[in-house]
């Protein structure tokens, strides 16, 4: 019995997705019911699996090409994956229930729940995968389903564009990831984690190879976890429904990158160079995103940039070779960020889909439950003791202080910025006077939405305490610097909050105007320019080739041939078919030249 539990928890969402798409597309209530039952089943199974130490799922051979390539289909069952299972299915369940309220009147509710189930399946698959091929497969499936979910309101151009951007940007990272997997497989002859681990020692004599492999694998995480320089998709992904933002940005898709890095730490930690690069990429992402967040006006975008920044912290911890600290922050972040997004969603729905913070204000009286829970999440995010974020962020900062002081300094500055923009958000949205009609008339959300908020608020508050967290994961060891680092962090926190309160109390509009930050360091513009030019240039060249050379004859038709070059030009103009044949001949000549004289 117990050995099939892991399979049940993995396959339940898949069955739900299949049922919904095949049979239940027309009955919205039924499909949401199926989907929620499936995720609850997954959650219960996860808890059971977590509670029992001796569970081992049977694995079976999946692909076996004459010994050249063996891919088993097996499930990893260690502390790490069990913890993630509970986290993913737990947060997933909360978000499913919340979605009932949020998507109440949506036309595509069935489609939404179907995709949500498929997403849960893919995400749980990443968590339990025990080899690179499975991991990559579920990884791609996550990318695909998130494309569907972000683009749920596809009739909005922005949503469709954002979905495409998310998909394509993460694919760029996957490109490197796949090469990395292939190279590792080539070198070790296996793609199963447990088999590669002992073989890594064979490779220690090739440090450059290891660095390249580690960095290529890291590319995958850069895409999925939206690290600099592929971070641009995440804020745009806010065009999706808010529960999706919570799901993608809290416990799951973006965390998948960090989880993957921890899962393959045995590769990454063999190269000091790669670790250093990873740590700095994380640090840069953290500070960059925090800077940008200080000047945004859309409530969800601010949260999105804060997610980027927190992910930066996690990647930084991976780069500092501490899986524990990284997972600890992932764990607490999952709760408080899901909480913040869902609370923001509650605000947004009650304000009739208004997302601009300058049209809000004074909501603390109108939405008391939302307000209290949001404050809990915000305090956890800025790392205010005794909320959960304080403990996990402190662990990372302490680590940085010991291993790399420049990174510590930047991390501390990021903490200051975090406090600044979160308190700014809080002050503008919940205090002062309502700045618009909708804000004046808003009222509290229904219980199906506030219920999950309260649950998450409790978790966000308590999640950092050792008595709670230690049940789930190995906490980083206490350091002797335990007094200095928290003290400095709290000073940064107080400075940031104080500055925000002074600046934004009773303001009706933005007092600062930093164009560079407001335009997100012009990353989008730069990428658009880059893509535009490469794509246009190449497509243009080929289109020119195909259209002009071949079509010119049909248009002008003049073919008065002379000798020499004239005759050649005539060839180009003579018309369709023979232009083809000319290119054909050219190709042959080139090939012969290549073969004979190379």
């Amino acid at each position: 019995m117990s050995s099939i539990l892991p399979w049940i928890l993995l396959l339940a969402p898949l069955c739900s997705a299949a049922c919904i798409t095949l049979f239940a597309l027309r009955w919205k209530a039924l499909s949401s019911f199926i989907s929620i039952m499936a995720v609850l089943l997954s959650f219960i199974c996860s808890c059971l699996v977590f509670a029992r130490a001796d569970i081992s799922a049977p694995q079976f051979g999946w692909i076996d090409v004459a010994g050249a390539l063996k891919v088993p289909f097996g499930l990893t069952q260690d502390q790490l994956s069990k913890m993630m299972l509970v986290l993913v299915s737990g947060v997933g369940a909360v978000i499913h229930i919340y979605s009932l309220g949020y998507m109440r009147d949506d036309e595509g509710k069935s489609r939404y729940f179907g995709a949500l189930s498929l997403f849960m399946f893919a995400m749980l698959g990443i968590v339990v995968a025990n080899n690179f091929v499975m991991l990559f497969m579920f990884w791609e499936l996550v990318g695909f389903t998130s494309y569907v979910l972000i683009g749920h309101w596809f009739y909005r151009d922005a949503a469709a564009a954002a979905a495409k951007k998310a998909f394509i940007t993460t694919r760029i990272g996957d490109f490197g990831f796949m090469i990395g997997i292939l190279m590792l497989w080539m070198a070790t002859g296996s793609i199963v984690f447990a088999e590669i681990t002992p073989r890594m020692s064979m490779l220690t004599s090739h440090p450059t190879f290891l660095t390249v492999v580690a960095l290529l694998i890291f590319c995958g995480a850069v895409g999925k976890s939206a690290q600099f320089p592929l971070h641009v998709w995440l804020p745009d992904a806010m065009e999706g429904p808010t529960p999706i933002s919570a799901l993608i940005h809290a416990a799951t898709m973006v965390a998948a990158g960090v989880y993957m890095l921890v899962r393959v730490a045995f590769v990454i930690q063999t190269s000091q160079t790669a670790l250093l690069v990873i740590a700095w990429i994380g640090t840069i992402t953290a500070v960059l995103a925090a800077l940008i967040a200080t000047q945004q006006n859309d409530i969800k975008r601010i949260l999105a940039y804060s997610t980027l920044s927190q992910l930066g912290y996690m990647v930084m911890a991976v780069g500092l070779a501490s899986n524990d600290a990284s997972m600890f922050h992932l764990f607490t972040h999952a709760f408080f960020k899901a909480l913040l997004f869902l609370a923001a969603g509650s605000v947004i729905v009650m304000l009739h889909h208004e997302q601009n913070i300058w049209k809000m204000g004074g909501l603390s009286q109108k939405l008391p439950i939302t307000f209290v829970t949001f404050v809990a999440g915000a305090l956890a995010l800025i790392g205010c003791p005794p909320f959960s974020g304080f403990f996990s962020k402190d662990a990372i900062l302490a680590l940085a202080y010991q291993r790399n002081v420049p990174i510590f300094a930047v991390g501390l500055f990021t903490a200051f910025l975090t406090a600044f923009y979160v308190i700014r958000l809080l002050v503008i949205v919940f205090f002062g006077k309502p700045r618009s009609e909708v804000a004046r008339e808003s009222r509290e959300s229904p219980a199906v939405m506030t219920g999950p908020l309260i649950v998450l608020a409790l978790l966000a508050t308590l999640g950092g305490f050792a008595f709670f967290a230690r049940r789930f994961l190995a906490l980083p060891i206490e350091k002797e610097v335990a007094v200095f680092v928290p003290a400095v962090a709290i000073v940064a926190l107080i400075l940031g909050s104080g500055l925000a309160i002074v600046l934004y109390r009773n303001r009706a509009s933005e007092p600062l105007d930093l164009q560079l930050l407001r335009h997100k360091f012009y990353f989008d513009e730069f990428y658009r320019w880059l893509i535009y030019w490469t794509q246009e240039l190449l497509a243009g060249v080929f289109a020119f080739f195909d259209r002009w050379i071949i079509d010119a004859g049909a248009v002008s038709g003049s073919g008065r041939g002379t000798l020499g070059i004239g005759a050649l030009l005539r060839l180009i103009q003579i018309g369709n078919l023979q232009a083809y044949l000319f290119l054909f001949g050219l190709g042959i000549v080139a090939l012969i030249y290549f073969a004979v004289f190379h």
Binding site: I63, A68, E140, L141, R171, F542, L581, G587, I592, F594
Partner: protein, 511 residues
Amino acid sequence: MSYLELLKLASTEAVVVVTALVVLAIGLTTRREATGVTVATAQGDQNVGGSSSARTNAICSFIAALGLAIAIGTALMLPRKATLFSGMLVITPLTSLFKIICMALAFFAVLLTKSEKSLRHPGEYLAILLLATVGLMLLVSSEELLMIFIGLELLGLSLYVMVAFDKTDVRSAEAGLKYFLFGSTSSAFTLFGISLIYGMSGITSLAAISEKLATVSVQPLLAVGIVMTLIGFAFKIAAAPFHLWAPDAYQGAPIPSAAFIASGSKVASFVVLGKIVLVGFAPLHGDAAWHAMVAGWSPVLAALAALSILVGNFVALAQSNLRRLLAYSAVAHAGYTLIGLVAGDREGFSAALFYTTTYAITLVGAFGVVALVRRETAGDDFSNFSGLISRSPMLAGCMSIFMLSLAGIPPLAGFFGKFYLFSVALRADAGHGLLWLVAVALFGSLISLYYYLIVLKVIFVDEPSLAIASSPDHLSPDLLQRIAVAVLAAVVLFLGLMPDALAAGLLAAMP
């Protein structure tokens, strides 16, 4: 050897040829009656002739399908190994497997033909289709240059006619002419190349050529001969820059012809190309590693592969007709498949064959969807596909499976095929010399994702245009064809989940 034994070994081909003749005879006799009726009942009444033609079509298709099924049965009963006339006809597990695959592809092409209304002479069309299948089987099962050339010509001549077959459409004849001129020119090149190879080695059987070539050094005349020989195959698989016919032929030809060119012809060409380079030209492999190219056929194929991947994917970006898009993507896929041959050895060959087989299955399915949509909306531009999900969720679902498989999204067959190919290419060379080619291919597949997604967007997101939504020509659904498409989609999914079923078989069948 007695003739009876010979017949036993060639029974598969014989059954298909006989079927072709029977179908041709039926087509000719019933057609004459139908014409008589039409003439008799004045000009306006086309219905009688039309329904009679449809009935002929159904009978002929049924017989052709039956014949192919019997032939597949005989192919299963072939001995494991046999060689006739020093390699002119060879039977190995590999050739038997690919004979079956080719006939299965022809079978689906026959099913597509059944609903093709524009074909006024279904009997003749099906007979030619079956003869083309014989050409495929000869190509697959020969290891001798003369026989390969004859198989190539039999296949080519049948396909030229099949492309130009639709006399109601001017574009069909134009496509046929382009395909014909391109094809005959490139087969002339191949022939000239063969004559040079023969001149160097004095023999035409592949194994013997290999022995002879091992003793000579690469001289210009030989290199010219090799390149020229390869050109005929580069044309057949539509590798750039010999691909220019493909978009026109795919767009202008009747759909079953296009599907057959894209699937059967391609699979058989890859099998025989692999045999020629890996068996016949084995001593002149050369090296396609980026910094250490050594003259031989592999750098030539590598150059073709890289060019095809880039040209195919980039030009496909700008297409708005689904058939042309499939054609350009076919160019790119030919490039991916060539990587397997460049990698060489058994594994590379089996990876290439796995890829091309799954690709062929996918494309037949995709053309099946195109045929059904074309029948309803009389066109195959993107606009004809808009909002397909609301008109036929089943077809939309199948099409998305085909497109995602072509794009290489797991867990579909295309993903594993690409993975297998690239990994073989990377391991082929201790110094990872083919990394550049794999990088080009990955880059190409990154681009390709974009246009496949555009197709999906058109199907799932766009509103059906008014003209299509209110089209009165909603025919009764062709159940058989729908089932065929669904079966193909299921196969694609199955080969993605259980690639072993084919890949292990291929590897075991490799000589």
